[in-house]
Symmetry: C2
Subunit: 198 residues, 2 copies
């Protein structure tokens, strides 16, 4: 096999092992050695491909958010009706809880880190502000076309994000088998009642 192929394969197996261990045990509780063992790779290999332990998380986060970004763009393009676009956020949350469920706990860990570490903040929080701006723009569109009340778009977007984040956190911590996608959908409809033009 070519040298480069082998290299990327190694790096990929490290990333995969790290992703799994982070999800199951959390970030702090996972040591670099454990990642190496799980990946069947030496510590030297690890530090050949990654500068620090934190850098591997940041790379994982980047990939993860990229997927979210694409979903948002998809919604943006396929959305004619503004209200419908806002409602579709419920689907996203359901998908996020389904697909990325096991890895979501790391977010809590890194949100708390983001408060003190600017590098972590850039990688984990800043993207969410982009999402907020996205929704704010969508809301502005709704106001312009007269389907939404004339509310401050940014604040309203904050409310939407708050709803999403709060639902995610509850979904993580509540052990019961609630269907959070349904609940979120319901909540969005309630909110829309308040936001929609009369």
């Amino acid at each position: 096999m070519k040298q480069q192929d082998r290299a990327t394969q190694t790096k990929e197996s490290i990333l995969k092992a790290a992703e799994h261990l982070f999800a199951v045990q959390g970030y702090e509780a996972t040591s670099v050695s454990m990642i190496c063992d799980a990946a069947g790779v030496s510590k030297g290999a690890f530090y050949h491909h990654f500068e620090t332990k934190q850098s591997i998380f940041l790379e994982l986060m980047q990939r993860w958010l990229k997927g979210l970004d694409e979903q948002l763009v998809l919604i943006d393009e396929s959305t004619e009706d503004v209200k419908e676009g806002l409602l579709s956020m419920g689907e996203i949350i359901g998908q996020v809880l389904d697909v990325g469920g096991p890895q979501l706990p790391i977010f809590l860990e890194f949100w708390s880190r983001a408060i003190r570490d600017p590098e972590v903040w850039d990688a984990t929080v800043e993207p969410f502000q982009r999402y907020r701006d996205f929704f704010a723009a969508l809301i502005q569109r709704g106001i312009d076309e007269g389907s939404l009340r004339d509310l401050a778009p940014h604040n309203t977007a904050r409310v939407l994000i708050a709803l999403a984040v709060g639902m995610l956190v509850q979904g993580l911590l509540d052990t019961g088998g609630e269907d959070w996608q349904d609940i979120t959908q319901e909540a969005l409809e309630l909110l829309l009642h308040g936001i929609a033009a009369r």
Copy 2:
């Protein structure tokens, strides 16, 4: 001075130092030795009063939640109108962000722990389910007296909690000087528009 008085004083100074350090640096980043240094106390004293490092956090959490409980009871008693009672949640969030602001980041840290550690879960998450039940009861009251639409009270309560949690998280992570109490108040009014009987 009496021996017991001195003992409680020591314990209190340990708690105070821990609370401060946890707030500033986070839980994991704060070592037992640091707490002892800050409290002007030896490690022996620490482990005389607390079984483990985690136990000191649990005690702090208990006290903290007790304060929240009292506020809720206060609202419950002084509330004649259901809608008004729900709106007052906005004030609570504002107060929480004001008073307990510096210590809130620890919540993120322990929510992520709560997912794996049942003891932490009991101390940090279970209380919030009581709050949810509280709001569910309030909503039920509103439905009974006809001021609210006939929606599933538990799910609606979840939405309220989600809003609160989401606002708190954003308040922690957004560096800008937004007035989250105002925004929350606005959000609650929007939601009430959707919930209120027509």
